[in-house]
């Protein structure tokens, strides 16, 4: 059987190199190790690590997630039960991979960074546990926990606590947590290995094929009878009823024609849940802030503004995801009695309506939140107005980009463009809004107008691409 171990190990090594995104990530990971060491060294003992440590954390997150997905792929298949010696070989190799990536790697980074405690390793084990649990159980509330954790880690008190933990001031707790983490990891792996098709919710997994299309493998979600799924089903049925009503009515106006094409926030419930979620996240953020005294106003801006800017960007760009999953259906829809030009325009109109819905929801939520928390997180009303102006501009940019990006055949390039756009516009936003007094009078409107014009250019170009696109 020695060949079997070699072959399984090869699957771990070959996978990153099978796509250029994997290669990029691999190179990024290699680069992040020295960067992580540098950040820790700069942070020094007793002080929280430099803020640049967080991208390192994100990269480790991606590494752990890839590892967990790879393991899930191997065990959530009939092959796992029917191939002789499968479990033993795969568990051994998986265990080795986990040891290297989750224990040794952070351990090396910690040692090289001058830390002499297991704190970092304990943290990474717990991190991995969360990711593995999420992947094995297909439950999404872990993602929420991680998101909350990330949001919290941006605030000073939590960062200080983390710094203490890593640098060895809480050594006993670190050891205990490490052991607990190892036990949890073992339990989760056991559950993974014992997975059968009788557990459709956990058995289901996402696969990407080489062309970047997502295939959902495993049982259909009709088999999922959990409360959450039933809730979702009710919301979907409701949305479908509304759609049917529109569809049956004669298309007399542009509005009713547009309303027939469903994209994104079909159900009123999803708009409400989106705004509620946003509100909760913002609120949790503010609860961490009161610890800072008055003269730390600047600090509040640093933590709040990126969140606020994200708040406008993320929902818009998530529409991209919905539009691109729709793409395979577009070929079929084009066969309906509608000309291509009308179809593209109406679909674009529907997307625009959805964008507006999302923007209104987000703006209202943000304004409500600000009104409620004005006394606690004083942002000058000037900043708020600038933020709103920025949000409008960024919606134009986002809409244009989304229209253009969904017309691209390769999802990978589309995602890459969007990530660059998000990062870029967030950077611009932060520069403009953090210190508006440093910039000349005309700078803000000029930058805003530029972003809007870029968005419109993309929109025009994307519209033309759509008119000539291949639907298949």
């Amino acid at each position: 059987m020695p060949n079997a171990y070699k072959q399984v190990a090869l699957t771990y090594l070959r996978r990153p190199f099978s796509s250029w995104i994997g290669v990029c990530m691999f190179i990024g990971a290699l680069g992040m190790i020295p960067m992580g060491i540098v950040c820790l060294l700069e942070g020094g003992r007793g002080r929280p690590p430099a803020p640049a440590f967080f991208p390192v954390v994100m990269l480790f997150l991606f590494l752990y997630w890839s590892l967990a997905m790879h393991m899930k792929d191997q065990f959530a298949d009939s092959r796992a039960r029917l191939t002789p010696g499968f479990r033993r070989v795969h568990v051994v190799v998986a265990g080795t991979a986990i040891l290297v990536c989750v224990v040794l790697l952070p351990g090396v980074v910690a040692l090289a960074g001058g830390l002499r405690s297991v704190g970092l390793v304990a943290l990474s084990v717990l991190f991995f546990d969360a990711v593995l649990w999420q992947v094995v159980s297909n439950s999404s509330w872990i993602a929420l926990v991680l998101l909350a954790g990330w949001a919290g880690a941006m605030t000073d008190p939590i960062r200080a606590a983390l710094g203490d933990f890593i640098s060895g001031k809480l050594e006993l707790q670190a050891v205990v947590l490490l052991l607990a983490g190892v036990v949890i990891a073992g339990q989760t792996m056991l559950r993974l290995v014992r997975l059968t098709e009788d557990d459709p919710k956990r058995y289901r997994r996402i696969q990407w094929d080489n062309l970047g299309r997502i295939r959902l493998a495993g049982h259909a979600w009709q088999d999922d009878t959990s409360l959450r799924q039933r809730f979702r089903n009710r919301a979907i049925d409701q949305g479908l009823r509304v759609l049917t009503r529109h569809a049956l009515a004669a298309p007399t106006s542009w509005w009713s024609r547009v309303r027939r094409w469903p994209i994104g926030a079909v159900t009123p419930l999803s708009i409400w849940s989106q705004s509620l979620f946003m509100f909760i996240v913002l609120q949790i953020m503010t609860w961490f802030i009161p610890d800072l005294p008055g003269e730390e106003n600047e600090g509040k801006m640093i933590t709040l503004l990126p969140m606020l800017i994200m708040v406008f960007l993320i929902p818009s760009f998530s529409l991209f995801g919905m539009l691109s999953t729709r793409r395979p259906l577009m070929g079929r829809e084009l066969l309906l009695p509608v000309t291509r030009r009308d179809y593209v325009r109406q679909l674009g109109g529907a997307a625009l309506v959805n964008f507006l819905q999302i923007w209104v929801t987000v703006t209202v939520t943000m304004v409500v939140w600000w009104l409620l928390n004005r006394w606690r997180a004083p942002l000058e009303s000037g900043v708020i107005i600038h933020l709103l102006f920025y949000s409008v501009v960024v919606q134009v940019l986002a809409f244009g980009l989304v229209v253009w990006a969904t017309s691209l055949r390769s999802r990978v390039s589309a995602y890459a463009t969007l990530i660059v756009a998000i990062a870029g516009s967030q950077f611009v936003g932060m520069v403009c809004l953090m210190s508006p007094q440093d910039l000349p009078e005309y700078a803000l409107p000029l930058i805003g107008a530029t972003l809007a014009v870029i968005g419109l250019v993309f929109l025009w170009h994307g519209h033309h691409r759509w008119l000539a696109a291949d639907f298949d």
């Binding site: 059987m1 060949n3 079997a4 070699k6 072959q7 399984v8 090869l10 699957t11 070959r14 996978r15 099978s18 796509s19 792929d73 298949d77 009939s78 039960r81 029917l82 191939t83 002789p84 010696g85 499968f86 070989v89 059968t196 098709e197 009788d198 696969q207 990407w208 094929d209 080489n210 062309l211 493998a217 088999d223 009878t225």
Partner: protein
């Protein structure tokens, strides 16, 4: 009379409160080629999965190669081959890597057989599995199940996506493989013409149980109809 290759007794399996299999009995003798026939949704896949120990029935016993299906030994697994209906291969792997990976687990892997079949079926070894067409992916899956020359081969709708040439090659392969008395093949299908050629026994699944099981020629002698017509009559439909 040796033990049957697959023995299902009293299998009951429910989904969502609906009984897909209700007290099903099936005995597949060694060395026979059994075609499992049934409408879509009749439970063919469920039956196969219960027989292979992939899912656990609510009631009844499943035995495979003289062992309990749920706790198959590694030795029994080396004599078993399975091609699922929905082919799920590692889409990022190259075909020859996938073959090497699978071969590593079977001490009885026949490399020359795999090489011959690869050539005959024109399987692209250097391509990645993801972009393969459905038919090609199915061929690869069948190849992976044959490489260790299993005594028991179980296939779920194997020829559904194959073009006529590929289907003929596949049937030829099954015929070659199924030496009388040595190898057992169970395959589920709804293409009756395939079964007419290849199978010597037929099991018809209806309403959660096996409505008819026996030699195909006995069925024909009794009904004087071909398989498709018999099947339709069993379901009270008018043959066209």
């Amino acid at each position: 009379m040796s033990d049957p290759a697959i023995e299902l007794s009293g299998i009951t399996k429910c989904y969502d409160g609906k009984a897909v299999l209700a007290g099903l009995d099936l005995s597949v003798p060694k060395g026979s080629v059994v075609g499992l026939l049934g409408t879509n949704g009749a439970g063919k896949t469920t039956l196969i999965k219960c027989a292979l120990g992939l899912i656990r029935p609510q009631g009844g016993k499943a035995r495979l190669l003289d062992e309990d299906a749920w706790t198959l030994s590694a030795e029994a697994k080396t004599r078993l081959g399975y091609v699922p209906q929905v082919v799920n291969l590692y889409s990022w792997m190259k075909v020859h890597h996938l073959i090497d990976y699978t071969a590593a687990f079977y001490p009885n892997w026949n490399h020359s057989l795999v090489a011959r079949l690869t050539k005959e079926w024109a399987i692209p070894l250097d391509d990645r599995v993801g972009p393969l067409s459905v038919g090609q992916a199915q061929k690869v899956a069948i190849l992976l199940a044959l490489g260790h020359e299993p005594e028991l081969l179980v296939l779920d709708e194997p020829a559904a996506s194959l073009d006529p040439l590929a289907r003929r090659q596949f049937l030829q392969m099954i015929i070659d493989l199924a030496e009388p008395g040595r190898r057992t093949v169970l395959f589920s299908t709804h293409i009756t013409s395939d079964l007419e050629r290849v199978a010597d026994r037929v099991a018809i699944l209806k309403s959660g149980r096996i409505a008819w099981h026996g030699l195909l020629e006995d069925l024909k002698s009794q009904t004087h109809l071909n398989l498709e017509e018999s099947f339709l009559e069993m379901h009270h439909a008018e043959p066209v």
